[in-house]
């Protein structure tokens, strides 16, 4: 079983990623360190990809059937999306954030080898599972960060002088997060069609995910057309995140959610 080499691959991936991120943070403009940093990040992604490919070949099936296997994909795709976002937008902190999230999944796999074998329930054994979850994690991470910016912005607004740049960065994070939120919602719909016969059944989680999508939609539109109303938008951005959190964690406690397929199991 190929999993015996997993700690090694995970370690090499982490080392590459730490080196790459450090180089990028340390590099000044036009410094040779920057391309080296990129190479290290790509080698990190390459290492974990190699492990997935070898595992796939040895198993003779896509490694997507057990809990441990799905975590592997989470880590891989998070690093990939984080890297692409960094390349496109130049936010260095995305690298740290994403590495942190990816590490959670890799470390969980290291600590719980028994989950390599634990089969998922039938409906979850789908090629849609991983993309659906991964784009949501990334969307939530981006929108979570936009929330942090909104709180920072509120502080600056009331106690210091407010630089518009704060809200502009937050906006961009909202755009990126919203794009992934849209994908997550739609991947979920396409998966639902395969697994449950219809793409939309107003399951409580779907309803709340749609609601989250709508409130960010309102934010994007008011922000776009009333660019100068800073205070309104800072407050709005800090409040709509609550809807997202309710959707993520609150569903289990709602009367409407007794039969939801999305209520997370305690095991």
């Amino acid at each position: 079983m190929n999993w015996i080499y997993f700690p090694l691959y995970a370690l090499i991936t982490a080392i590459f990623w730490v080196i790459g991120t450090s180089l990028i943070f340390a590099s000044k403009r036009k410094s040779i360190l920057k391309p080296l940093g990129h190479i290290a990040l790509l080698l990190g992604i390459g290492t974990i990809t190699t492990f997935v490919v070898i595992l796939w070949l040895q198993l003779g099936r896509p490694p997507m059937r057990t809990l441990g296997e799905t975590r592997l994909w989470y880590a891989l795709f998070l690093l990939l999306i984080g890297y692409v976002t960094f390349v496109r937008w130049g936010y260095q902190w995305v690298l740290i954030l994403i590495f942190f999230f990816a590490s959670i999944f890799l470390v969980t796999d290291l600590l719980h080898p028994e989950t390599y074998e634990k089969t998922l329930m039938p409906a979850l054994q789908s090629p849609w599972f991983v993309p659906h979850v991964i784009v949501y994690i990334f969307a939530y991470a981006m929108l979570g960060f936009s929330w942090v910016f909104s709180i920072y912005g509120l502080y600056m607004f009331y106690f210091k002088s407010f630089p518009m740049k704060v809200l502009n960065v937050a906006d961009n994070l909202v755009y990126i997060g919203f794009a992934f939120l849209t994908m997550g919602l739609l991947f979920g719909a396409l998966w639902a069609k395969e697994a449950w016969g219809h793409y939309w059944t107003w399951d409580p989680k779907e309803t709340w995910a749609f609601l989250t999508w709508l409130v960010y939609l309102v934010y994007i539109h008011t922000r776009y057309f009333h660019y100068t109303k800073v205070r309104l938008h800072l407050w709005m951005l800090s409040f709509i995140f609550i809807v997202l959190l309710l959707c993520w964690f609150g569903i289990s406690y709602m009367p409407s959610a007794k039969n939801s397929v999305h209520v997370y199991s305690n095991e």
């Binding site: 089969t119 849209t182 739609l186 016969g197 107003w202 409580p204 409407s256």
Partner: protein, 422 residues
């Protein structure tokens, strides 16, 4: 582009309902639409709206699109048409729509414990209520008009905008009106060698399908059952410090709630035959484990066979202490599948292995494995399938594809380009 004048303030002297209409007028209109929906709902007895099926819904879509196009071409400069494609109108529509979705998310829908108030306001069935449908119609009108404004005349830089807005318009419209033509029927198949072409709707109506099915074999693969200590008085598991209950496997040694437990023997299909627990292929046989349990503090030991039980057999357990019993839980399903022959007509047929997540398409229908007789579990001879027919699916998928492309565009272009134009 200037489709709305977000910055052009209404004259201070301007009264409500003087053009250009802004947020106050927009929200009043949106709320009036919602209230109108509630009134109609109450007058029609709180039964909701019935969406017409093909071909009427197709006509509605074409007439709706034609009216929007006509308004755009003929009256695009009139203040009312400018308003309906403005941001205040859009925000009022999305907000009230979101409020209804919020209610939908909070109030249990179509539940048996409903009240007259919830029925007559439509809150017990939000998604088919008049308010919801009318607000959606208002939302789609603003969305459609703004899409037309950016689409005609066409400019390349609007492509991302169009993919998102048109995609959403088409998806919501086709999914909403198309819901009338969605058929979700249940087909019950028995392992009795007989053919079946009858499906039943939720209301109990029978449909004859354009294909015939025969169930060759229904199979359930189960996880091993788990060991558990249950308090028979409270009927709750005594978990101790354990986060999850251990699966019973041969030679397992584990600690559970102050007991050291060893599984000496495990049989996945067993039965007592002549007083001896042994493997058996007989229908109704159940998982069995021979266990030793030793109380860690007192040193008391208990041993013997415990079984999960099945529809045919009573479970057996060990009494550990007082009301604490050591039991074997009911095994959970890992995978279930039906081997079927699908007769498409008198000449062609297909042998299919139907599993969860792997539907099979035949003659415009998708067939899904959905369930079985859970009471009989592994020994179920019944396989429950669902047949789904949705003629609108390609249209909805086209809308979804457009939205997905729009999302990628949004990720890549982000906000920077837009800030410049502002």
């Amino acid at each position: 582009m200037g489709l709305t004048n977000g910055n052009s303030k209404k004259e201070e002297s301007g009264k409500l309902w003087d053009y250009p209409w802004k947020y106050a007028e927009s929200f009043i209109i949106a709320i009036e639409i919602m209230v109108a929906g509630i009134i109609v709902e109450a007058l029609t007895g709180g039964k909701g709206i019935t969406i017409p099926g093909i071909p009427v819904n197709i006509y509605i879509i074409f007439i709706f699109a034609a009216v929007l196009l006509f308004l755009h071409v003929r009256y695009r400069e009139s203040p009312a048409v400018i308003w309906i494609s403005s941001i205040p109108a859009a925000i009022s529509a999305i907000s009230i729509y979101a409020v209804l979705v919020l209610l939908l998310g909070f109030i249990p829908q179509n539940s048996h414990e409903t009240s007259k108030f919830l029925d007559f306001t439509g809150l017990s069935h939000v998604k088919s209520s008049w308010s919801f449908v009318l607000i959606q119609f208002y939302f789609l009108t603003t969305l459609g008009m703004v899409t037309l404004r950016r689409a005609i005349p066409f400019k390349k830089k609007n492509i991302g905008f169009l993919m998102n807005h048109f995609g959403l318009w088409l998806t919501l419209l086709a999914a909403g009106l198309g819901s009338a033509d969605l058929k979700r029927l249940t087909i019950n198949l028995l392992e009795d060698g007989k053919i079946n072409n009858i499906a039943v709707s939720q209301n109990g109506e029978m449909y004859k399908m354009p294909f015939t099915l025969k169930l060759l074999d229904f199979d359930v693969v189960q996880y091993n059952p788990r060991l558990a200590i249950v308090n028979v008085e409270t009927n709750k598991y005594n978990m101790g410090n354990a986060k999850s209950l251990p699966f019973a496997v041969k030679n397992l040694e584990t600690e559970l709630a102050g007991w050291h437990i060893k599984v000496q023997e495990y049989l996945s299909q067993a039965m007592l035959i002549n007083g001896i627990m042994q493997n058996s292929d007989s229908v109704g046989s159940n998982p069995a484990a021979f266990v030793f349990a030793k109380n860690i503090s007192t040193g008391d030991t208990v041993k013997g066979w415990i079984t999960s039980g099945s529809y045919a057999l009573e479970p057996s357990y060990l009494v550990l202490k007082g009301t604490d019993f050591l039991i074997l839980t009911q095994p959970e399903p890992k995978k279930y599948s039906s081997k079927l022959i699908v007769y498409k007509d008198s000449l062609t047929s297909d042998t299919v292995l139907l599993e969860v997540n792997k539907p099979y398409s035949v003659k415009g229908w998708e067939i899904y494995q959905t369930g079985y007789d859970e009471n009989k579990g592994k020994w179920s001879t019944l396989s429950v399938l669902e047949a789904v027919n949705d003629p609108w699916l390609p249209v909805v998928y086209f809308g979804i594809a457009s939205l997905l492309c729009g999302a990628l565009y949004l990720f890549w272009i982000g906000k920077d380009k837009k800030v410049k134009t502002n």
